[in-house]
Amino acid sequence: MLKKIKVEEAIGTQLAHDITEIRPGEFKGPAFRKGHTVCDDDICHLQKLGKNHLYLLDLEEDEVHENQAAAILAGGLAGAGVVWENNPREGKISLHAAFDGLLTIDTAALAAFNMVEEVMCATLHSHTLVKKGELVAAMRAIPLVMKRAPVERAAAIARQNGGVVAVKPLRKARVGLVITGSEVYHGLIEDKFAPTLSRKVTELGSEVAGVTFAPDDEGRIADAIRRHLDSGCDLLLLSGGMSVDPDDVTRKAIRQAGAGEVHYGAAALPGAMFLTATIGEVPLLGVPACGLHHRVTVLDLVLPRILAGERIGRKELAFIGHGGLCRDCPACSYPHCPFGKGS
């Protein structure tokens, strides 16, 4: 329960909450912290901040202060790989990445959490690559005093799958590259795929264990896949031969090599003819020719998720559709653009 008193009569009382001061372009933060004992000198400062009245706090048994509520909520929201300090400022608590990795947001649980009245949480987009210590989410209980029950319900909603906000580490994969295409294999044109794919792999902390070139021949491509698997590769990237021409046989070769689950076609441009498959537990990614022309394609959306341990199947490739259209800007600003942020 809150009791309103005139600021002049507040000397000797303790502030019920942080009091924010904003000096445009100069400062925004708490001028006074919760618990501060108001003294004579404070009155003028408080009045300059527009405070002619203050609240005296007298919590009922079923009520919690915003700072206590924020801590309960943060405990529910923070999943694996996320850290936070129980030191709310102006009722807010920030969540940070505990290590480098891929941010994942349980968007359904986040929506359900935010549907509870008087609590909020805002996050970065799911599947964003983040660095250790980076701010990934922030939340607050909006009123100064809340009933405990809705706070605890919101926290339960948040932890329904182990926390709304999580950071997954990227595994260090041994990647086998299979560069297909008779024109490259026979030296009619120079390959550009191997260096492009190698750069994307190593930027994510994995290593390229081997590169094999194969002509447009199902058997030869399937052999190359098997050789990489036999040599211990735990992720394979295949380039070329993903289109609809009669010479494009990479898909067939992937099946011939023993892939059980093959998903062809992603709801992204560039990247419509992208493919995911698995042989045993090893993921295979088929990269269409757009990977040569565009700096960023669907591969950049999927590869970090694969390294974070996700299985990318029909549903995941379909859900990329919302936000999966690259604007093809003259100066690419990815990842600070909407590409891939809708799923």
Binding site: A111, A112, M115, A156, I157, Q160, K315
Partner: protein, 228 residues
Amino acid sequence: MKPFHELLETSAAAHGHLCPGQVVGVRMAILGCRLIGLDEPTRRDQIKKLIVYVEMDRCTADAVAHVTGVKLGRRSLKFMDYGIMAATFVNLETGRAFRVLSTEEARSLAAVYAPEVDGKSARQLAAYRRMPDSVLFRVQKVRVKLDACDLPGPTRRKAVCSRCGQVVRDGREAVADGGILCKPCTEDCYFSHPREVAWPDMNWTPQEAGAPAAEPAGRRACTLLHLH
């Protein structure tokens, strides 16, 4: 209690169709029973401990009644015509009572819990299976004042309407102008202008098993009269 999917299947069969309201009702009943400490509400030793108040006459109400086994005729099912998707579960032995409310936001959240399912009803059906209780429901601990006349068991009291002579059971009579009245004799009644009538085949009686066949239905149909 049987597993959720079995309860949903039998509840939908008893209700007549599977719908989102059935999912909500089955889950509401499972949660309500859990909160008041009954794990087998339809079993003989628990059935008499339970009273359920349903606040809506929708699909959900049938599912709640099916899972808990409460019945209007046993006085274990109480219908409160509030138009609210809620039910209160009362343990008569302990006095504990919890009111379980279906959240409105669950409807808005169906799209995020079952985004791959097309069609409003199918999407809600899938989403309401997936949502945790914390999203689907809010719960209030409540006190329910139960009068002896509300409880299961024999009729506690009979009164006679001073205007029409109707016998009224269990304290449902009204007192007006110093006299006892049945509800139809007050203005607080769902019908008006009652007038007693005669009806066709007034002497029909159910046949005992093995008795000769009844007269043809066609002939009976011919005797239908307009009721004025």
